[in-house]
Amino acid sequence: MSLVPVTININGTPTPAQVEPRMLLVQFLRDELELTGTHVGCDTSQCGACTVSLNGEAVKSCTLFAVQADGMDVQTIEGIGSMDDLHPIQAAFWEQHGLQCGFCTPGMIMASAEIIRRNPDPSEEEIREQLGGNFCRCTGYHNIVKAISSAAAVMREKGAEAGQAADD
């Protein structure tokens, strides 16, 4: 099977590669780029552990071939924030004990970013409904919901500050 040349912009870095068409985006990230924060928890597109952002929208990287992402922007958990500069959602998951084994966490955080992007002030009910594509077996979701609420509040505040700064 012939390899296909692609250039995918991964966490801001244009990344050229030769990939087999059947390689899923998640396999490309994990096996070729060693970005192992994106996980595989199922093979039917239910669990959401593989969630990444594609051109700014959250997608399941297990249901997308790497070749399809050619020329696109992919952001993974490794790109959303770092220990030195945690994204507010990452900080909130830590603060609120929104994780235990940590395996679903990267996907949860990427999905949380999508929820807040669509609605900066989601209600508890909306958060629960919008988490329908992400499974956590450890936390009972209680602290995940709290984490997303609190991250959204922080982000609104930051957004307001930034808006104010821009106005000034």
Binding site: E57, T63, F65, Q68, D70, E114, R118
Partner: protein, 274 residues
């Protein structure tokens, strides 16, 4: 996790896709991929080639032509859910789109994919039946428009011929209130039963998906309702209104239960359109 090997073709435009499809009858079209890729991973589908139409601009876009809302087949569920034009012309569409999969699936999955795939448990067919939608189908040899009543033939079966692609979904401007109610499978989130209702000046239309091999209009409910959307009439018109005989029956939901749910959901949808 791995599919069987295949040749990947990213179509540069629609004509290119149609030509590739005509040249290789063993190829499959790849749009949102949310039905196809999981099936390929289980090796229940092993097409020799995939023709990727997910990035085709010609299939994107939401526009209007007079009173007709025209959705490119590549419009995603999320676009349907959040687009202002869709909300204005056919608010029943976002009322269904919110029930599709989850946010990630909605960002990727397409309305054309749902129409082409004709999964019996898909949401849109119910609403499309009430809205009187039609579909533009293109092949290397030409194009045609097929009305929704003639399009869905059965489980995974449609009027699509080999070599044809769904390119547009045409939806007449929604006149009157519409509502979609769904009872989903707790695991897959697919519809055990979904019912769409539309109260337009020409009359009330009700259609059901999920319960049988394909989405159908609930004509007996429509007739019983007539134009009387009083609480009492809605209740009496929907109670025991659906015959279990032709419905699917499985481990999770028997035909009898599906029939009952169809009545319940029809009632709920009708209560919302009155």
């Amino acid at each position: 996790m791995y599919t069987t090997p295949f040749d990947y073709h990213r179509a540069v435009n629609l004509d290119d896709a149609l030509k590739m499809l005509a040249d290789n009858p063993d190829a499959k079209l790849l749009a949102g991929g949310h039905s196809l890729i999981p099936t390929m991973k289980l090796r229940l589908a092993s097409p020799s080639a995939l023709i990727d139409i997910s990035a085709l601009d010609e299939l994107r876009g939401i526009r209007t032509d007079g009173d007709m809302l025209i959705l490119g087949a590549g419009v995603t569920h999320a676009e349907l859910l959040y687009d202002k034009t869709v909300a204005e012309y056919a608010p029943l569409m976002p009322d269904m789109a919110r029930w599709v999969g989850d946010p990630m699936v909605r960002n990727r999955g397409t309305v054309g994919g749902v129409v082409a795939h004709a999964d019996p448990a898909a949401d849109y067919p119910a609403g499309l039946l009430t809205l009187g939608a039609s579909f533009k189908l293109k092949s290397a040899g030409g194009e045609r428009v097929v009305g929704v009543d003639d399009y869905f033939k059965g489980m995974f079966e449609t009027a699509l011929q080999e070599g044809e692609i769904v390119t547009e979904i045409h939806i007449p401007r929604q006149a009157g209130k519409g509502a979609y109610e769904k009872f989903r499978h707790p695991a897959s989130h697919y519809a055990i039963v979904g019912v769409a209702a539309l109260a337009s000046p020409e009359g009330v239309k009700v259609a059901m998906t999920g319960a049988g091999p394909k989405a159908v209009r609930l004509t007996q409910v429509e007739q019983a309702i007539g134009s009387d959307l009083s609480d009492e009439n809605i209740k009496s018109a929907t109670e025991n209104a659906v015959d279990a005989g032709s419905l699917l029956s499985d481990r999770f939901a028997s035909a009898e239960y599906r029939a009952h749910l169809a009545g319940v959901l029809a009632k709920r949808a009708l209560m919302r359109v009155k």
